[in-house]
């Protein structure tokens, strides 16, 4: 009986001290202050998702997210510590304070918004209609009478079916690669696909680099940070809006996505 009481009280002490530690962590946390005191910012980036983050030929991480992390560290005038994460564990890393920011091609959705906060967007990620410069299309209704290649059953296929004019001739192909080939060989002059696929085309055949005609579904990438870090959030938002104004974001997009930011990005 005595031993049981002892055990119980010990557990209680441990539990209460853990609880106390957690309170100080949440209540007294000002991640921006910590970063500046530490002179180091820890940023989670992907390493398996080019062109956002992958391992370069020099075995160092490279990509949009890495460039963005470097830029932010520069602007804050602190050292950068890159923490490679996967898409499954990038939010837990943030929640457990192992990193200060997640720059990992993170899209915004209501579930995530309950768990973490987001800055303004820093990189484009969208489904759109792309095509040769010669084709004059700027909106959905312009597609009337045109031919568009698309991968069957993809989200972009369903979007076109829902919103495109009835006279649009949709040529559906088996997979992204065949859709891409149809565009590269000139069998279709327009394709509906993701901007990463368009980047892939631009890389393979720069002379046929497709132009973004309009967006079907926009889901840009945001930087994630822990909830309630208002100071850090406004600081990063400031850095992003400067980068948008001075062309840094566009340069990063040109470098990795081979395309300028879509019109009205971040607006």
């Amino acid at each position: 009986m005595k031993r049981l009481t002892q055990l119980l009280s010990k557990t209680l002490i441990v539990a209460s001290s853990v609880a106390a530690a957690m309170t100080t962590m949440t209540a007294g946390a000002d991640v921006l202050q910590d970063i500046q005191d530490r002179k180091e910012i820890r940023i989670a980036v992907p390493q398996d998702f080019p062109p956002f983050g992958s391992v370069g030929p020099d075995l160092k991480p490279q990509g949009i997210d890495v460039d963005m992390a470097n830029y932010i560290a520069d602007q804050l005038d602190v050292d950068l510590k890159i923490v490679p994460v996967t898409s499954a564990n990038r939010i837990p890393y943030l929640q457990t304070k192992k990193v200060d920011l997640v720059i990992s091609s993170l899209g915004k959705n209501p579930e995530r918004e309950k768990a973490i906060d987001f800055t303004t967007p820093y990189a484009p990620f969208f489904l759109g209609v792309f095509g040769e410069n010669s084709v004059d299309v700027t909106k959905m209704t312009d597609l009337a009478g045109k031919t568009v290649g698309v991968t069957r059953g993809s989200v972009e296929d369903l979007e076109l079916e829902k919103y495109a004019p009835k006279s649009l001739n949709v040529r559906r192909f088996e997979d992204n690669n065949t859709t891409l080939t149809a565009y590269l060989t000139g069998q279709v002059k327009l394709i509906a696909t993701g901007n990463l696929v368009a980047t892939e085309i631009a890389k393979r055949q720069p002379q046929r680099a497709p132009e973004t005609k309009f967006l079907l579904k926009d889901s840009p990438c945001y930087i994630g940070l822990a909830e309630g870090e208002a100071a850090l959030q406004s600081k990063i938002n400031g850095i992003i809006s400067t980068a948008l104004e001075n062309g840094t974001l566009n340069d990063i997009s040109m470098k990795w996505l081979k395309a300028p930011l879509p019109k009205g990005f971040g607006a």
Partner: protein, 220 residues
Amino acid sequence: MLYFGDLLPYSDVFFGGLITTVELTVLTTFLGIALGTLCAVLRQYGGATPRRIVASYVELIRNTPFIVQLFFIFFGLPAIGVMLTPWQASVIALTINLGAYSTEIIRAGLGSIPKGQVEAAKVLGMTFRQTLTRVIFVPAFEKIYPALTSQCIIVMLGSAVISQISVEELTYAANLVQSRNFRAFESYLVTALLYLGLAMMMRYVFKLIGKRLFSFRESS
């Protein structure tokens, strides 16, 4: 749970696909047999060069997969400036495919005609063309008719492959419906039954045509 009701809103998609498959089959059957007949005659009675050319064509087509031939025509040829619509590419691919297989089949028929019969026609003063159309073709085709029928049905079934270059035929319809309502079992079952029906109908039509073409058998 199986539920075929989900296919009903797509009945016009299936119907459109069915029509396209029938159109393609009728067109390529005619063109393919015509090509096959021409090549078979060249192979059987032509000079050394035409024979060799036909032999190479037959070997090339019979020893490469149909989908590769199709992709070559649709995706490959634009590289040398030949841009074909999916429909044109399919008709050409199916025709040269049936042409190659039917060449071999028809040639066997031509080879089965006794030499004496051809010589008799010559003695009677018939030209080569007359000999072909009046003496050789009918019995030659009669011999190989079942094999030719089967080959045409195989090509009809093989036309499923052209869904890959976005021709909206029956398999394309099945794939599309399946990608919309995820009723894979139902859409492919219905499609399989439609193909079965088509094949049986083709066999029946061929039989009717055969009865007319080879009516000399019954009268003799």
